[in-house]
Every structure is written in C-alpha cells, then in structure tokens.
C-alpha cells in the first residue's frame, strides 16, 4: 500500500467550515477504533490517517487473537478488520464477538470480493463489508463515514432500547409468510424471556396470555389480517406470580397488491396504568357507596330527629298538662285557704266588739291580728307560687292602662277610704300597650297596695305613664315613708322590710319582690327612687313591647 496525500477538503483550511464540518459530520466524543490487520504498513498508515482529524483514537492489532485481548481490556466504539489473516479470519473474529453478545460495530475491510464471503459476513452480523480499493484516501474517508454510521446506528439502537426500557414498551415485526418474529430487547423483558433465546413463535406468545384475553384477541387478529390497525390489551402472569397488563398496537404492512407482508407492533406494559385506573374506578365505586351510606345515615338521622321531635312534643304536652294541673291546684288552694279564713276574719272582730271581759277581748285582738297576718301571707304566697309558672302570654289586645289602674283603685276602694290617701290616675286616656294583661295587672296592683301601705293619711299616690322608644314606662309615686339610699335596691328582696319595728300585720316583704319578678318575666325592669326617709318614693317600671298614645292604639 502507498502513502496517500491528505484528503483535498482538509488541505484548504477555512475557519468557518471547520465548525460546520465538525457539527455536521463529526461525532460527539472521540471514537475509539480498533484496526485489525496483519499488514504492518497498512496498520501504520491507517492509524496516522484516522488520528489526523482528532476525531478517532486508533489502536491496532496484527491478529484476531490479539484483537480479542485488546477488546477484552479496553472499550472500543468500532472494529475494522481485515478478512484474510493468519490464525483467525475477520469473520471468525466477528463470530466470536457476536457469540459473546458483543454488538460492537464491525466493518470487514478486505481484498476478498467473493460473494460467498460477503454473504457469510452479513449472516454473522457484520455492519459493513468494504473492499480495499486502490483509491486509498477516498477509501479511508468512506470508511470513516461508515464508522460514524455504524456507531450512530448503535447509539440510536441504544437510545431506542433505553427509551423502550423507560417506557416499558417493546417493538416487534412479524413476517407473515415466514412466521419470523423479530423482537426488540424490551420485548424479552416484557415477556420474561431470556435475551439470548430466540423469540417464541406467535402462537407460543399468545398462549402466555389469560384465556379470556386470548379469546378477545381473535377478532383483533382478524381485523389486522384485513389490513386494519388494532389495539388489544391482554394479561400475562410472570415468573414472580404477578399479573402484567400488556397493551399491543398492531399495524399491518401491505404489499402494493394489498396482500399482507408483515405486522409491525408495539407492546407496552400498562400494569401501573391499569392499577391506577382500577384504583380510580374502585375509588369512584367507594365514593358512590360512601355517598349512599351517607344518604342512608342522613335519612336515619332525619327519622331520629322526627322521632325526637315527636317525643319532645309529647313531653311538652305532658309538661303543659302538669303545669295546667298545678295552676288549677293553686287556684283551688287559694280558694280553699281563703274560704275558712272568711268566717275567722269576719266574725272575730264582731265577737270582739261584744266581749265585755277585757282579758278575753285582749286575747281576741291577738287572734284578729293573726288572722290578718295569715290572710296577707296566703295572698302573697299564692302570688309567688303562680309567678313560677306564669309565662307571659303577650296578649294581642291593646291594654288601656288607665282603665286597668282605675279597676285596681276600685278594688281597693275600702283600703283607700280607710287610709285617707288621695289617689291620682294621671295615665293618659289614650295610652294603649300590648303586654300580658294578667302580669301587668298584678304589677300595677302590687305597686299600688305598697304605696297605700306606706302613705300616711292625707298623703297622695300618683300613677303616671308614657310610651318610650321601645316600650312603656310606668311610675307610681307616693308621699309616704320614703327610702334611704341603701334600701333602694334591697327593698326588692324577698321578705325584706325597711323597718322591722314598723312591720305592719299585713306587710310580709313580698309585694315588691313579686313586682320585680313580674317585670323581669315581661323582660322589663323596676327601680325605686327616693329623696330619703320620710320624703316619699317613686317606683319606675319599664316594659318592652309596643305602646302608643295614638287613639287607635299601637299597630
């Protein structure tokens, strides 16, 4: 072999095209090349030529045996080998590598142009078969190009395998006539077949699938054989006993006359997808079930509530009934207590007047006083007993307050005459209010008797009232005993009387406490006001609820 000049394109250096050249033709990373040839000169020439550009790093070996040693100890991107070498031919070297699953790009570079050698080389897995040419420089440029192609192909295959691995998707080709089934690397993994084995025949593969899925495959097979693309999902059970869902998309490759030559397919492991889908379905099912359960619980709750309502209503009716019974009892009790008191109170003073024995007369006085005391107690205690049950009815009829006070004055006509007190009803004639008639009447009555009780002869008791922003204000003032500042609040306590020494037989310290409880019952307030002892006092009651002085009464 002769030494040839450097290729023409390399003799005219031009800065810009270099960059273009490198991007367009140069491979990323330096390619590491093993050149195997028993021709020492050629090896030397080859090495110098390929290393010039910096794109290749070249090792050489003079024989197949030495090549194997180098391949075992270093990593190469491509092997270029002579065919005819002593000890081991290039094809024998290739076969040894392929037998070890070594897929390194392999180019045979030889003088032997015989067809049977070329065919043998191709069958052994050679990438390129290049005849040694006399036009050496262009030959070497062509070889460099073929190296790049072979490496690119390997890189592309590796990328595809990596992508397939990543996606758990394999691809395959089935040739119809020969039945040859060609699998990508990932297919072996998907079907748990050792990579060194031949792919099983189609029927063998189908047998791996679930019976049900096999049956479902038949119409799919028919569609594909009729030239349609089709998708089919089947389950296989793999060595570790788990189920694997495989989705296969098939596309027939047709001849120009429409007959099917082959089927191209991809098969993907969609187990995770399936699990997620199943989980989603399960979740949706659960959700529906849970909603139904919630609905059921809701209904039960409603039923329970209804029952509770009924029970509460029953209980309320029962309580109402008992309260009514109690009210009737109190009314009856009042009647039954007062009736026997009537002869005692009525006849004792009568007897006393006829009694001439002063000792007996004095005893009768005691009985008369006690009877009066007893009567007062009965009245007040019954009022208190009623207070505990009297719920304000908030009657809808407007109450004419002036009339109500007039009635109270009439009821106490005798007491007024006895005490010699002047009573003035200054409540406007047209004042109407909405309140509980019974409770309001009781408030007025108690305030009135209280004022009468503590007014001296010749004193005055005066009623006034006016509507306020949110209700009614009533005032009862007297010119009587009056109150010290410290008594203004205590006067409403039960059984409190201002001056125990002046306690009258008909005073029990209950009247004003009844007034306070009544006003509170109506949501109102009561307070006492007095300039001081002996200077009279005024009791102010405020009550909520509509009150008006319009002639038609409150709306």
């Amino acid at each position: 072999m002769q030494v040839h000049a450097i290729p023409a394109e390399r003799s005219h250096p031009a800065p810009e095209p270099v960059s273009t050249y490198r991007v367009a033709f140069r491979m990323a990373l330096t390619l590491s090349l093993l050149y195997v040839d028993d021709d020492d000169a050629l090896r030397d020439l080859f090495q110098r030529f390929f290393e010039r550009s910096g794109e290749f790093r070249v090792d050489t070996a003079p024989s197949g045996a030495e090549a194997l040693v180098r391949l075992a100890t270093a990593r190469y991107d491509v092997v270029i080998s002579d065919y005819q070498m002593p000890g081991m031919t290039g094809i024998e070297l290739l076969r040894r590598l392929r037998a070890e699953q070594n897929k390194i790009p392999f180019i045979i570079y030889t003088h032997q142009g015989m067809a049977d050698i070329a065919i043998e080389a191709i069958n052994s897995g050679v990438d390129f078969f290049v005849l040694k040419d006399v036009n050496f420089p262009s030959q070497l440029a062509d070889l460099a190009q073929k190296c790049r192609q072979a490496v690119r192909l390997r890189r592309a295959e590796r990328s595809l395998a990596g992508a397939e691995r990543q996606a758990r998707i394999g691809n395959w080709i089935l040739e119809i006539d020969s039945g040859v089934f060609e699998w990508s690397e990932e297919m072996f993994r998907l079907f748990d077949v050792p990579p060194e084995e031949e792919p099983p025949a189609l029927e063998g593969v189908l047998e791996r699938f679930d019976q049900e899925d096999q049956a479902a495959f038949e119409p799919v097979r028919a569609a594909v054989l009729h030239g349609q693309e089709a998708t089919w999902i089947g389950r296989i059970r793999v060595a570790d006993g788990t189920e694997r869902f495989l989705r296969t998309i098939m596309a027939p490759r047709l001849d120009h006359d429409g007959t099917i030559r082959a089927v191209f397919g991809t098969t993907q492991d969609i187990t995770e997808l399936k699990i997620a889908e199943d989980w989603a379905l399960q979740y949706a099912d659960d959700l529906v079930r849970r909603n139904q359960e919630l609905d059921r619980l809701h209904e039960e709750l409603q039923e329970a509530n209804l029952m509770l309502d009924r029970k509460v209503q029953e209980r309320t009716r029962e309580v109402d009934r008992l309260l009514r019974q109690k009210d009737e009892f109190i009314v009856q009790l009042g009647h039954d207590l007062r009736t026997p008191l009537t002869p005692i109170m009525g006849l004792l003073p009568f007897i006393r007047r006829r009694e001439t024995d002063p000792d007996l007369a004095a005893l009768l006085e005691v009985l008369i006083d006690d009877a009066a005391q007893l009567k007062g107690l009965v009245d007040k205690v019954l009022s208190l007993a009623r207070l505990d049950r009297m719920a304000p009815t908030g009657g809808s009829d407007p109450i004419r307050l002036r009339e109500m006070i007039d009635r109270s004055i009439t009821m106490h006509r005798y007491l007024i005459e006895q005490s010699g007190v002047e009573v003035q009803n200054r409540v406007p004639d047209d004042l109407r209010c909405i309140s509980d008639r019974e409770l309001l009447g009781s408030i007025v009555d108690n305030l009135f008797t209280n004022a009468l009780k503590y007014s001296p002869a010749g004193g005055t008791v005066r009623f006034t009232a006016r509507p306020t922003a949110d209700g009614l204000a009533i005032a009862v003032s007297d010119t009587g005993a009056g109150l010290a500042a410290c008594d203004l609040e205590r006067v409403f306590d039960e059984f409190y009387t201002v001056d125990p020494s002046r306690t009258r037989s008909d005073s029990h310290g209950l009247g004003l406490s009844i007034v306070r409880r009544l006003t509170e019952r109506l949501g109102g307030t009561v307070r006492a006001e007095s300039p001081g002892p002996g200077q009279g006092s005024t009791f102010h009651v405020t009550l909520p609820g509509p009150a008006d002085t319009a002639p038609g009464g409150p709306a």
Partner: protein
C-alpha cells in the same frame, strides 16, 4: 231597709255574712246554690245580691247569666264574692252586669261599709 241575699254553697260563709249584716240591722236572705237564688228571685226578691263565684252545678257567673235571662237585673244589684284572685275566663261579657267585687276573706267593717254604700245606690 233594703234586703240582702247571700248566695254561697258554704254554710260558714252564709253564717258569717248573715251574722255581720243582721247585727247592723240588714234583712238577710240566704241561698245555698244558684238554683235557690233564682227561686228566691222568682218569688219576687228585690235588693242587693252577694254572689259567690265557685259553686257546684250553677256557679256564680252562670247564675248572673240566668238573672239576666229572667229579667231580674232591674230590681237587684249584684256584687260578686270571690276567693279567687285571678281573672276568671267565664266572667267575659258578664262583668258589666255586676256592680263590684268583694274578695274573701274580709273584715266585718269592710263588708258593712261596702254594703251600706251599695244599698245607698239602690
């Protein structure tokens, strides 16, 4: 002097009122029930009627209504005797027919002075 009729189912009340009023010189008629009261009115009684409210069978208010029906009101004055201190729903519409109320128990002086006043009106 104007006669007074006391209507009460309780003989002790009848005795009390009669004793107090007779001592003051009033002529007193007693009736043990609303029925007896109406009988006395039918017999021509005219004057003051002190009427208990809570009586069995015909109670005070029923009797007042019967008095109105019988046309006796022009010749009598009715004052109710009551041991109740809460308004009675039955009094509705009948209040206007009675002149006053006396609550039990009462002192003899109170009864006498009231009765004197009522009688003065008659």
């Amino acid at each position: 002097m104007t006669p007074v009729m006391v209507v009460d189912d309780d003989p002790r009340i009848l005795l009390t009122v009669r004793t107090i009023l007779e001592a003051e010189g009033f002529g007193v008629v007693t009736a043990r029930s609303g029925r007896e009261c109406l009988e006395a009115l039918a017999d021509g009684f005219a004057g003051l009627v002190l009427m208990d409210i809570m009586m069995p069978a015909l109670d005070g208010w029923d009797t007042v209504r019967e008095c109105q029906k019988g046309g006796y009101l022009p010749r009598i004055m009715i004052v109710m005797l009551t041991a109740r201190d809460v308004p009675d729903p039955k009094m509705e519409g009948l209040q206007e027919l009675v002149f006053d109320y006396i609550t039990k128990p009462f002192l003899p002086d109170e009864l006498v002075s009231r009765v004197r006043k009522y009688v003065d009106y008659l």
